[in-house]
Point group: C2
Chain length 389, copies 2
């Protein structure tokens, strides 16, 4: 840990199959006016909506609703939510859903009392809020993004075709509390489940594969990766396995709450490549990452060989004896490939709707990162996309 | 993660060789009256005292002092500190030192506004505070206890010969901020350094060696243990290696801030055995743990064999091929023994001043834990102490 850094993460987590019982105690801390925020209505079908509204009612809360928050929350939807929260004089924004709903609630929380346009202030100028922030609580129903314990909020501007994530610096923007009940994730379709699992794994990879220093964060990352690999193998064969799903839920939170990036550089290039694919195909986020990550990591491997050797040994138990460094590193990525196939992840962008003639456009809309083992140029990005076909 | 649990840790950490610069921004959040708390005066010799008081002066603070906080802070000293903090109308308690000074500051923080006797309320009845808590900030100069990011506070009552630790449930008792500057730890004598290193490692072991479930916390523990082993080998050869010392500082914080015990049982039996040795010999805490831990773990190994096999493979890279389960598990503990000898730890209680005829007394004063792989009876404790001679 050579650099200087800060760490603060005050979100209170309630974890387990009985964790919703703590909602009542949390509600006592906030005023009467609650805005309940959710997505497409699956929480109405699986009974979570009824459970939550009953608790809100028993607590005497005055509830308004923002429903229909989409997988990539739009700026239009944000404006709509701000108006509802303002009109309701919201004391608490209660998000019930996955990462998009949590992200959206955080974006509303910093905008309700903001006199400027939030898109310009937070997403174009990347400023921190200067107004009072409305507290956010989360009840998580999907696993992967880590939004339940961080200060990130991605918003999409459909008009300008820009999807921008702002990870705020102020820990006050993190949810005050998050309720993590693994039971709520059991009904997710397998495609979404494995997509979320790869999202978790890749979050860790993008913080791990950068930097040459000796850093405790990398050891924590290796522990988390081993846990994801182990539990995912159980969950993909037996999606109803509560223990495996609970481990995945917990690793997702810790994979992206800033812990494993402390004191080191990070390289979010796979997210940039994947998001370009997503923008052109509307494919599921985790699958876009899965489809481009191995071609990317194989391309940069020679430039960060020591870390890839470490990955092979410490994460995949590759036996290095009698092998060249390159062989060991390659075997690590091969082991990762086998695991990804075992999960049934999408392993190429062709399957996601990308064709040869789209590659130039994709590369054009890929934001280049500068903290990886190799800073890519346009032609290299095209080559990686071609290797991903 | 099968159980239900909560996690909340709001302490803001400032880490690095330039981290003291953030003290000023933190001071702005609190009132004028600061009580500076420190130990035996080493901070006066190494210049930290001057640096800190200069910042306090520049911030216009009205400073009182509690000095002479001893390695095992006594109840008498606690009463003295309460009076000073009350008389000064303290807005902030600023601890500068190691775990004892941090522990002491937390004990004062819950007692200043407490109308009952703190020893009876917090250490005999184990109650939570019902009064207003005075905020605590820490500037850490020694590594090991994790007190900088948890709600624990150990106090010793010399009159009744009781040393009791209370880990408070309320996260408000955790330090508001802690400044972790690895440079401050470079001047520590080697004996204290390796003793602290073993304290870190053993904190992780005591949370790891318990339970049969499948838990992400154990993967995080393995990562932290690997990091401690790796960095300790560098630090013991080259104590001035900033990077190794910084990794050790960071692992110490995460080894005991509740993260790696989430969702699982823990077994603090080594601490109980070690504390009994400490009570009869006044030996250094980490060394008492080192001297009893292998005899304890070898004794309970058959009862928790699966976890000891996992420890051997995942922490010590023991090659299991062609070996019996017992062999693999034993090789893990042998590897741990070799590492401990490499560090120069005290490997037996004889060297700490314990003789054969003291064993019955030691066993008598050892508090039995019930969440380990084997609940020990008196004779077994005597046997483990005998194996530690």
């Amino acid at each position: 840990m050579l650099g200087n850094f800060t760490y603060c993460n005050p979100t209170k987590l309630y974890f387990g199959d009985a964790s919703l019982q703590y909602l009542n105690a949390e509600l006592l801390k906030y005023g009467k006016n609650v805005v309940l925020i959710y997505g497409g209505g699956s929480i109405k079908r699986n009974g979570i909506y009824d459970e939550v509204t009953e608790i809100l009612k028993a607590a005497g809360k005055n509830v308004a609703e923002i429903s229909g928050v989409m997988p990539n929350p739009t700026l239009e939807k944000l404006y709509e939510g701000i108006e509802i929260a303002r009109g309701h004089h919201a004391d608490l924004l209660l998000a019930v859903g996955g990462g998009s709903v949590c992200d959206y609630a955080k974006a509303v929380s910093v905008s309700v009392n903001c006199e400027e346009d939030p898109w310009e202030k937070y997403y174009l100028r990347f400023e921190e809020p200067t107004c009072e922030i409305v507290p956010v609580g989360c009840i998580l129903t999907m696993v992967g993004t880590g939004s339940e314990m961080n200060a990130g909020a991605v918003i999409t501007n459909r008009e300008t075709k820009m999807k921008i994530g702002h990870v705020f610096a102020d820990e006050a923007i993190m949810p005050r509390f998050s309720i993590l009940n693994p039971k709520y994730t059991l009904t997710l379709p397998p495609y979404q489940m494995v997509s979320g699992i790869y999202d978790i794994f890749n979050h860790i990879c993008e913080q791990y594969f950068s930097g040459e220093d000796d850093n405790t964060s990398d050891y924590l990352s290796e522990g988390l990766m081993r846990s994801v690999i182990h539990s995912s193998r159980i969950a993909v064969k037996d999606p109803q396995n509560y223990e495996a799903r609970s481990n995945l839920m917990w690793t997702a939170t810790w994979a992206l709450n800033t812990l494993v990036s402390r004191g080191k550089s990070t390289d979010w290039m796979v997210h940039m490549l994947g998001q370009a694919v997503g923008a052109h195909t509307d494919a599921t986020h985790g699958m876009t990452l899965a489809a481009v990550s191995l071609p990317y990591y194989r391309y940069i491997m020679p430039y960060g060989l020591a870390k890839f050797i470490r990955f092979a040994k410490n994460v995949w138990d590759v036996d290095a004896s009698g092998k060249s460094d390159e062989q060991v590193a390659a075997e690590g990525l091969n082991a990762m490939e086998n695991w990804m196939k075992e999960l049934g992840l999408v392993m190429n962008i062709t399957e996601l709707g990308v064709s040869e003639e789209m590659l130039e456009d994709l590369a054009q809309s890929t934001l280049i990162q500068t903290d990886g083992y190799k800073v890519l140029d346009h032609d290299e990005i095209v080559e990686i996309f071609r290797n991903s076909l």
